[in-house]
C-alpha cells in the first residue's frame, strides 16, 4: 500500500501536465488532492504496518527483479524510520502546497515540479535497493533546480545552480562508493546484489571501509548540510520559493541524513566507528557556526537558513554517537526539524515576504508586523519556541536524546553543542523581536507600497500553520508515538553490526 505514495504523486504530475495551461485553480486543487491522498496513504499504511508487524522489522512492500544482470531489484520496503519519514513527507507536502496557494506564475508547472520532487522523496525513503534509492535520490535534483531557478527570489539562478551542483557532486561521491562496494560484494557473495539487506551483511575489509565510508557518508551529508559543505543550504533556502525552502529544509535535508544512516553507516559500520570523531567534530562546528552566523544576519530568511544548518548538526551529532539513544534522537530530530523548519520558512517566506516584499530586518523593524499580522507573529513565536527546543515541542525531546547519547561518547563536544542551543535561543529571540515586535518607531512611508493594508492571512495559511504546530506539539507531548516506531529499528539485524561493537 505504501508504494502508492510514490505512484499517486507521479500520477499527480502527469495529470498536472495534461491540464490546460492557464487554469491555475485546477492545478492547485489537483496538487493539493494528490498531496492529501499521498499523506493519507502514508498515514494509514504506516499505522497498518505498525499494528501488524514489529516496526523494527523491515517489511517488504514490493520486490520484483529489475536489472538481473547487476542484481538490482525494484525493492520497496519500510521499517519504523522509513515510516516516520514517509509520514513527515506527506505532512510537508500538504503544508507546502497550502503555503504556495498564491503562486500565479505558471502554476501548473510549479506544482508538477513540486510533486515530482515529493515523489522522489517518498521513493528514497521506501527503497531498500541501493540503486533504486540512488535513482530516486537523483530524481529529486532536477525539480529542486527548476523550482528555485524559476519561482525563487534573491539570486535565484545562482542559488539553484549551487544547490544542483552540490547535490550532484554529493550523489556522485555516493555512486563511486556504491560501484566499489558492489564489485567487492560480488567478489564475496559470488553473485551481484544491490539489495541493502544483503549488502549490510557483506563484510567489507577494514582498509576498504576506511576510504569508502567517508566518501559515501560525505556524499549524503552534503545534502544534510554538514559543515563545511553546507554552503548550498543558506543560499538555496533563501533563493527558493516558500514551498521550495519548506521542502528543502523539511524533507530534502532529511534525504541526506537518511542516506548517511541507511546506506553509509549500515553498509560500512567499521568505517563509521573509525570516523566517528570526525563526524561529531564537524557536526558540532556546524551547530555552533550555523547558530553564530544566524545571530548576525540582516535577512530574515538567512536566519532560518543558517538555523537549519545548526539543527541538522544535531542530527549528524546524533548519528556520530553510534549508540541507540543518540541515533533515536537523531532520527526524531529529522522529523522535528522537518516540521519546525517548514513552519519557520512558511512564516518568513509566505506570511511576511510575500506581503511586505522585504526580508531586511531594518525595514521589518519599522513595520510593526506583530500588530499588522498578529497571526504571523504568534505563529512565529510558537515556531521559534519549538525551534529553541522548549519542552512540550518535538525539538526538545529530540535534542535532549542527541545530547544524552553524545554525552557518553564525547562529553566535551556535547558541552559545545549545548552552547549552540543557547545561541539558538539568542538568534530566535532576536528574530522574533526584530521581525515582529520591534520598539523602533514606525517610519512614515509617504509613497511606499505598504501604506495600503497588508493582505490578511488566508485560510490556507492558517490551516497549514495549525497542522504543523499541531504535529510538533503532539510529538513533543507524546514522543512515544514516534519513539515506538524508531526504537525497535535499532534492535533489528540491519543495525546489529553498527551498534554491536560500538561505544555503548
Amino acid at each position: 500500500m505504501l508504494a502508492w505514495t510514490i505512484y499517486i504523486t507521479f500520477i499527480g504530475v502527469l495529470v498536472l501536465m495534461l491540464l490546460p495551461r492557464d487554469n491555475a485553480r485546477a492545478a492547485r486543487i489537483v496538487a493539493l488532492l494528490t498531496a492529501i491522498i499521498g499523506c493519507a496513504i502514508a498515514f494509514v499504511g504506516s499505522i497498518q504496518q505498525v499494528q501488524q508487524v514489529d516496526p523494527g522489522q523491515v517489511t517488504t512492500i514490493v520486490k520484483v527483479p529489475w536489472i538481473p544482470a547487476i542484481g538490482a531489484n525494484y525493492y520497496l520496503a519500510a521499517d519504523g524510520i522509513s515510516l516516520m519519514l514517509v509520514v513527515l513527507t506527506g505532512l510537508a507536502a500538504i503544508a507546502g502546497i497550502l503555503f504556495s496557494w498564491n503562486i500565479e506564475k505558471r502554476t501548473k508547472e510549479f506544482f508538477a515540479f513540486y510533486l515530482a520532487l515529493i515523489g522522489g522523496v517518498y521513493g528514497v525513503f521506501l527503497s531498500f535497493d541501493v540503486l533504486l534509492l540512488f535513482v530516486f535520490y537523483e530524481l529529486t535534483i532536477i525539480p529542486k533546480y527548476f523550482l528555485i531557478a524559476r519561482w525563487g527570489s534573491t539570486r535565484k539562478e545562482y542559488g539553484a545552480m549551487k544547490l544542483a551542483l552540490y547535490s550532484f557532486v554529493g550523489s556522485h561521491l555516493v555512486l563511486i562508493g556504491l560501484i566499489a562496494a558492489w564489485v567487492v560484494a560480488k567478489g564475496q557473495l559470488g553473485q551481484p546484489t544491490l539489495n541493502l539487506m544483503d549488502l549490510a551483511q557483506v563484510h567489507f575489509s577494514t582498509g576498504f571501509q576506511h576510504w569508502v565510508f567517508p566518501l559515501v557518508f560525505v556524499g549524503f551529508a552534503i545534502l544534510a548540510g554538514m559543515w563545511p559543505f553546507h554552503t548550498w543550504a543558506p543560499t538555496g533556502h533563501v533563493a527558493a520559493p516558500t514551498a521550495g525552502s519548506m521542502l528543502l529544509a523539511g524533507v530534502v535535508m532529511k534525504l541526506g541524513a537518511y542516506g548517511c544512516l541507511r546506506v553509509a553507516m549500515v553498509m560500512f559500520p567499521e568505517g563509521a566507528r573509525e570516523w566517528q570523531w570526525a563526524i561529531a567534530a564537524l557536526a558540532v562546528i556546524g551547530i555552533i557556526y550555523g547558530a553564530g552566523v544566524a545571530l548576525v544576519q540582516r535577512d530574515f530568511k538567512f536566519v532560518i537558513g543558517y538555523s537549519s544548518v545548526s539543527h541538522m548538526g544535531f542530527v549528524l551529532l546524533g548519528l556520530a554517537t553510534l549508540n541507540t539513544i543518540g541515533l533515536d534522537g537523531a532520527v526524531l530530530q529529522m522529523f522535528s526539524h522537518g516540521i519546525i523548519a517548514g513552519l519557520l520558512f512558511a512564516v518568513v517566506g509566505r506570511m511576511v515576504y510575500d506581503r511586505t516584499h522585504t526580508r531586511d530586518f531594518n525595514d521589518l523593524e519599522t513595520m510593526q508586523l506583530g500588530k499588522l499580522l498578529p497571526f504571523a507573529g504568534v505563529t512565529f513565536v510558537i515556531a521559534g519556541i519549538a525551534s529553541m527546543g522548549l519542552p512540550g515541542f518535538s525539538g526538545f525531546i529530540a535534542e535532549l536524546q542527541v545530547l544524552m547519547g553524545a554525552w557518553t561518547v564525547f562529553p566535551k563536544m556535547t558541552i559545545l553543542a549545548g552552547v549552540g542551543i543557547l545561541i539558538g535561543v539568542a538568534y530566535t529571540l532576536r528574530a522574533v523581536q526584530k521581525g515582529f515586535y520591534s520598539d523602533a518607531p514606525p517610519v512614515a512611508h509617504g509613497d511606499q507600497a505598504h501604506d495600503h493594508p497588508l493582505e490578511p492571512i488566508t485560510v490556507a495559511e492558517r490551516f497549514g500553520a495549525v497542522m504543523l504546530i499541531g504535529a510538533s506539539l503532539v510529538i513533543g507531548i507524546f514522543p512515544g508515538l514516534l519513539m515506538n516506531w524508531i526504537e525497535p529499528c535499532f534492535k533489528s539485524p540491519l543495525f546489529a553490526r553498527l551498534l554491536g561493537g560500538g561505544a555503548q
Binding site: 536489472i67 538481473p68 544482470a69 547487476i70 508547472e109 540503486l131 540512488f134 535513482v135 537523483e138 530524481l139 535534483i141 532536477i142 533546480y145 527548476f146 531557478a149 524559476r150 539562478e157 539553484a160 545552480m161 544542483a164 551542483l165 550532484f168 557532486v169 556522485h172 555512486l175 563511486i176 560501484i179 566499489a180 558492489w182 564489485v183 567487492v184 560480488k186
Partner: protein, 488 residues
Amino acid sequence: MNTVDYYQMLRLSAPEAIVTVTMLVVLAADLTVLRGKSLAARFNFGALLSVLGCASAACLALHRHVEANLCDGMLVVNPSVDFIKVALLALTIFTVLISTPAKFTEHVGEYLSLVLLGTIALLFLVSAEDLLMIFLALEFASLSLYILTAFNKRNSKSAEAALKYLLFGGMSAAFLLFGFSLLYGMAGSTNLGDIAKAIAGKGLDPLLIAALVMTVIGFGFKVAAVPFHLWAPDAYEGAPTPSAAFIGSGSKVASFFILAKILTLAFAGTEGSAVWHGYVAGWTPVIAIIAALSMVIGNLTAIVQSSVKRLLAYSAIAHAGYMLLGVLGNTPPSHTALMFYVITYGATTIGAFGVVFLVEQATGSDALHNFKGLSKRAPGLALCLMIFLLSLGGIPPLAGFTGKFFLFSAAVLAEKDLGLLWLVILAIAMSAVSFYYYLRVLKAAYVEDAAEDAPAIRVPLLSFLALALLALLVILLGCAPGLLTQYL
C-alpha cells in the same frame, strides 16, 4: 584463393542489398516522380521510402539467425552482429525522420541517398573481421560523411567544416593504413584472428607497438577522442544538423564496435594493464590515457561553449572517453555495457540534434540564447530536450545513467582489486562537471524568458513524433535496460 559463392554472399548481405536498392529507389523517385513537388513533400516521401527500406532490412537482420563467415572474415554474420546492424538501421531511420523539415538543400534525393550509402558502409563495417574490408568500409562511410557535412552549400561554414573533416579524416586514414600494413607485414594475413595467432607470444616488439599506435591514432580520429578530436567541434557546428546527428550516432556505434573488435581480436595477448600502480605496456594503457584526456578536455571545454552544437560536439568527445572505458574493460559484461552505452548514446544524440535542428531552422542559429523560453514556445520540444540532455548528463532513470552504471561497474569489475577504479572515479567526477553545461541549456529553455521578438517555433508533426519516440525510448531503456542487453 578460395572460390566465392556469390549466391551465398548475396544472401548474407541481404540487409545491405535492401538498403542499396532503397537508396537507388529514393534517388530515382526524387528525380522522376517528385520533380516539381514542394520541398517538404519530397523530403517526406523520400524519408518514407528510406524508412520502409531500412525497416525491412532491420526486420530481416533481426529474424534470420545465421552464423557465417565468408571469405575468411570479409563478411561475418552472427546474431550479435546482426543486432548491431538493426541498431544502426534504427538510428538511420531516426536520422532520416529528423531531417524531414530541412530547408538547407534542394537536393533531397542526393541527401537521403548519401545517408543511406553511409549506412550501407557502416553495415559492412560491423560485419568485417578483415583489415582490408574494415579499411574499405570505414573510408566508404567517411566519404559519405564528408559530403553530408558539406551539404549546406549556402553556408560557407559547412564547406569549411567539411574540408577540415576531410583533411583530418584523410590523415587518419593514412595512419590507419600504415598501422594495418605493419600488422599485415608481421602476420602475413589480414584476418584479425590470424594476426592474433601470428603475434601471440612474441611480446611487444617495436614494430607491433608502431602498428598499435598507428591503429589507435587512426581510430582516435574516427571516434573523436582527445588528442585527435580537433575536427569534431567544427564539423558538428558547420555541418547541417541532421548530418551532425548521423556523424554522432550511427558512425560512432560502428566505429566503437570495430575498434573494440580490432583491439580485442587482433591485439589479443598484448593487453598490458592500466591498473593503478600496476602498469604493464600494451594497448589498455594507451586507451586509458586517451579516455582520461577525452573525459577531462571534452567536459571542461564544453562548459564555455555558447553554440549548442559545439557544446554537443565537446560532450561527444567526453562521451567517447566514457565509451573507451568499455573498450578498456575487455570482458563480456564490459562489451555489453559498451554497446548498450553507444547505442543509447546514439539515440539520445539524434534526439538532441533533432531539437537543436528545429530551433535552428526557426531562429536561424543554434546559439544558446535562441533556446530561451523554449518551454513556453514549444513545450513538447522542450520536454524532449530535457529528457535527452538529462540522459546525456547521466540522470536516472534515463538510459544515459543506466548505461554509465553498466559501463563503470563493468570497468571496475574487469580488473581485480578495483584496479581501474582510478579511471572510473575520474569519469564520475567529470560526469558531475558535465551536468553543469547540460543544465545551462535547460536553464535557457525552462528558466529564462524568450526575447519579445523571438520567432515562433514550428514543430512539424513527423519529426516531433520521431523525437517523442526517441524520448520514450530513452526513458524505457533507462528503466528496463534488459530489453536491449538481452541481444547484445
